[in-house]
Amino acid sequence: MANTRQGVSRRGWLKALGAASAAAAAGQIFGKAGAAAQEPSAPQPAPEFTGPGANPYWTSPGQFAMYPQKAPLILLTDRPVQLETPRHYFLSTLTPNDAFFVRWHLPMIPNAVDLKEWRLRVEGNVERPLTLSFSELATRFKSVSIAAVNQCSGNSRSRLQPRVAGGQWGNGAMGSASWTGVKLREVLDAAGVKSGSVQVQFEGLDKGLGPKGLGSNRFIKSLDLTNPVIDMCVVALAMNDEPLPMLNGFPARLVVPGYFATYWMKSLSFIRVLDAPDDNFWMKAGYRIPDTPRGNTTPDDMKSGKVATVPINLMPVRSFLISPDGTAKIPAGLPTRLRGIAFSGYGGVKKVEASLDNGVNWSECQLGPDAGTYSFRTWWFNWTPKAAGKFQVAIRATDTKGNIQPDEGVWNPGGYLWNKIERQEIVVGDAS
């Protein structure tokens, strides 16, 4: 009882004190100096949702949440788990494992794996079906590493207008890691792909509670055996030279360089060679994009039923300003460095440009070290703002295939392929 009362009065005191001192301080210093800007206040919470307009924030506005083997990340959903990476983690070529975004489709996701029992099975249309333990995988095949970006197909979905249902990601459903494991091709060769095979299917340990045969029962994805990316695929046993976090697909994960994350099967446990195209929900209905330039269409055209679709595939070129992030103003005259990352699934970043006037004039940025064609590429641009003002900074990248980021958004019912030029307002204040 006494404790409770003390607790309350303590809080009361703190509140009163805060209000009084803030008011007094504002009056004393900013009021008299005549430079009052805004009511001083402790950080206020972001809204619980955005819309029906586009999400104006860099990430989704959700709360931070704690998950096993993870730093506090932005919560989208808790069952199944979807977590977004905060902006500041994207200053480097590789994204830390504990900050890497998380996206599962079905509720029965693995909490624990016993490597005494766990096996990667290679089956289907093969000469010699294989049952590989973790240690066999690690020792029987040559070890390879590749740095590659893993980006959710729906990254930035909350930018679309009109908004579409689905995971309401800001820009943080992406990450770049150094993936170490064995070549998918070597594993397939060990099993011996029979002639007449057309696709290879991947399945992990997650399961759904829906009826058999439906997308809600299991999550499976397939790639054409003739797709050149098959030779680049890696069955990763390590991520940034550490074991994969459980939520990122321990003990093994498929890496499909340049491709959206939907193909990067987590907790990979079945590799199945198919002699007919996969017509399961996740290939035939889910993760499909309009067969139009940039995958762009309109709600009306979709409704009319005349828009042909294809499975989502390569990631279009994107770039991001990470710092400064607009949360603090910059004194005029201070040498400042704009920093961020860029990438393209089509292979390599050729050029990143910055505009300080909302996209009218562009200057080429410096590129950081090349960690690999499919990795994040860091960039920076030195800038000393001369006078106070508000600057609309825009960043755009061009990839080695000559694709340049457009200044138009995209719309399709899945909320995929967003790669519009990003903008950030930077406020420069007087320095004297």
Partner: protein, 136 residues
């Protein structure tokens, strides 16, 4: 307890002093109740040396759905496969979009929700989670 009291008295005194404008060129020592929360750190894990790799249970952060007719139907049906955060995460959607979602869950994903219950769920979502009606 006493120590804490003195700490508070000291903070208050300092804040008042600071707020009196001891210096004209900056503001300092100004604290207030935060609108945002704090997050407790997790204890370090204590793994075993055997072949079991266990991340433990995944936490549920259960959101509050708007009270109203049909809320129970949402909780009793939708939550078999996913948490209600799949609803609260969405932007405000037109009533028709919510109806389409419920239909997708039933027809495409095979959720065994009877027609009359489905209608109640559609009614509930279309009443509280549209651009016109959504408050939180």
């Amino acid at each position: 307890m006493h120590r804490r009291k003195w700490y508070l008295v000291a903070v208050i005194a300092l804040s008042i002093l600071a707020s009196r404008g001891l210096y004209a060129d900056f503001r300092a020592g100004d604290y207030t109740q935060a609108g945002t929360g704090t997050i407790r750190q997790a204890l370090p894990a204590a793994p075993s040396t055997d072949a079991a790799y266990d991340a433990g249970q995944y936490p549920i952060y259960y959101p509050e759905l708007v009270p109203g007719d049909g809320k129970d139907d949402v909780e009793n049906n939708c939550e078999l496969c996913h948490s209600p955060r799949y609803i609260t995460m969405q932007p405000p959607l037109p009533a028709q979009a919510w109806a389409d979602e419920v239909t997708k869950m039933r027809k495409t994903f095979g959720a065994s929700i009877p027609e009359d219950t489905a209608q109640k769920i559609i009614q509930y979502l279309g009443s509280h989670y549209t651009p016109e009606t959504r408050k939180r």
